[in-house]
């Protein structure tokens, strides 16, 4: 192995030289302060290559772009949701709360042709609890639950972190519940009548 002798620089002029080179370095940075980092996408060839200038971005005004398919805030397209409750079941942190009410008749079809038979008076996602694992989006049979590239949604009040996706007002939900109860009553009455008729 080759041994190198380290030359200690401790003479007066060496010290002066090193002091001056330090000043030169900060002066260089000061002079290059007119250059700014530009918000480029990660695939840009300058993304990792910033030779000089200020590295800070004025965040709320400038931000590094995120991928179009970034997986951050959850969004539920309630028109396409069949309220199957799979997402709530698979969620490891239980951040999805769903209440369902059976419809008295078919409500309609989702964009992929699945029939909707349930109303969702409550479909809440607590984004403060969400761990962004994305399992709910994988199990969603109609692909209505998706992750969006929105990442800056901090709130002052933590209650605002709960997102309500239902399309029913409480009154509408109550109406649907009563319709269902009425239908079930009628069905029960019809069943009882049929039973009584058979016994005779």
């Amino acid at each position: 192995m080759e041994t190198k002798t380290i030359k200690h620089k401790s003479g007066f002029w060496d010290v002066v030289k090193s002091l001056v080179s330090g000043l030169r370095l900060t002066w260089k940075h000061f002079r290059n302060a007119k250059n700014r980092r530009t918000p480029e996408y990660v695939s840009d060839k300058n993304y990792f290559n910033q030779p000089d200038g200020l590295v800070t971005l004025k965040y709320p005004y400038e931000a590094l772009p995120v991928p179009d398919n970034g997986r951050y805030r959850l969004h539920n397209e309630i028109d396409d949701c069949i309220v199957c409750d799979l997402c709530a079941k698979v969620c490891p942190v239980n951040c999805i709360t769903i209440e369902s009410v059976k419809a008295t008749e078919e409500i309609g079809v989702t964009s992929d042709g699945t029939k909707k038979r349930l109303y969702a008076p409550v479909f809440d996602i607590d984004m403060a609890k969400c761990c962004y694992c994305g399992l709910c989006t994988t199990v969603c049979p109609t692909d209505c639950l998706t992750m969006t590239p929105v990442y800056d949604f901090a709130e002052v009040d933590i209650k605002n972190m709960i997102y309500h996706f239902t399309d029913l007002t409480p009154e509408q939900a109550e109406e649907k519940r009563q319709l269902l109860a009425k239908q079930q009553e009628e069905m029960a009455a019809a069943k009882a009548a049929a039973l009584a008729a058979r016994k005779q």
């Binding site: 002091l19 940075h29 302060a33």
Partner: protein, 367 residues
Amino acid sequence: MLAFVLTLVLLLSIVIVLAYAERKVAAFMQDRLGPTEAGPYGSLQSVLDVLKLLQKEDIVPAAADKSLFKLAPILIFAAVFAGFAVIPFTPDLVPAGIGIGVFYLLAIISLDVVGLLMAGWGSNNKYAMLGAMRSVAQIVSYEIPAGLAILAAVMVCQSLDFQEISYQQGALMNQFPGLEYEMNWLFGIRDLGINTTTIGGITTWNIFRAPILLVAFVIYFIASLAESNRAPFDIPEAESELVAGFHVEYSGFRFAALFLAEYSMMVLVSLVAVILFLGSWNTPLPNIGPVSLAYWTTGTVGELSSILWGGFWLLSKTFVLLFLQLQIRWTYPRLRVDQLMHLCWKVLTPIALAVVLIAGIWRLLMI
């Protein structure tokens, strides 16, 4: 009274600019942006900082020595501010033109130390006490090389009057009463036979009039960094060790006063360096034959032109030194206590003594 108000206003505006510059320069040297939100390019940041400080609650710790604690910031600021009284800002504008200005300045600045110790002791806090002791030890030690460097300049100029020293360093020298027949020679050596009395400009600055004062200037500059507790001699308020040194317990207006005193000290030591070594309010441009740049950029004494030119040159030279102080802060690491004392007692003081001796000999060459 007018001088008091004018000096205070001038000082406050310089300090506001300096506090903003400090943050911007620091940011740029570290590849950051610095303040950007308050006003264009964040320029109102330091004004708003002061307003915020004034609105804050004035807390006096229960265990503090109340009278010392309350008096200290005022004493510290008063000591530094009193130093501005003898600073000549233009050829005919000096708040208090006393004949022993240099001596008075050195004496009044030493009072600062008492205030620091009062603040540290009065806070009844170990960090404040340690910070104050370090600060006092450092300032007292560095007053020796600084004083010797100033002494060298005084020996060359043969005067303790800042205004007389200022006049000596320019083409206007013969207009000062008592200096009518004085002459400046290139490098202060009469035998070279080159008379620079009417050339003025940079050739008559003290660092050129007696080149040994260049060494004195470097010594004074290093010592002045230590005296104003600036990096790399900022162990009194070493952020990572002592929180903020002697002003850790202060808040609101009292903190603002301490902060102001600290920045005023920076301005004051830079002003003194400029006046004693870098030609004071004199222009750096010399008269070259018929092209009398020095006279054109000096104005006529007693008229507005001389006030404007004088103030411009003095302040721009001061700001160059202040920028250097900021740059040094973001370039060099902090010295350890023993390294600090080593530099003061074993390096700067012996060199300063030698400089005083050589300056005395140089003076003999000048006459």
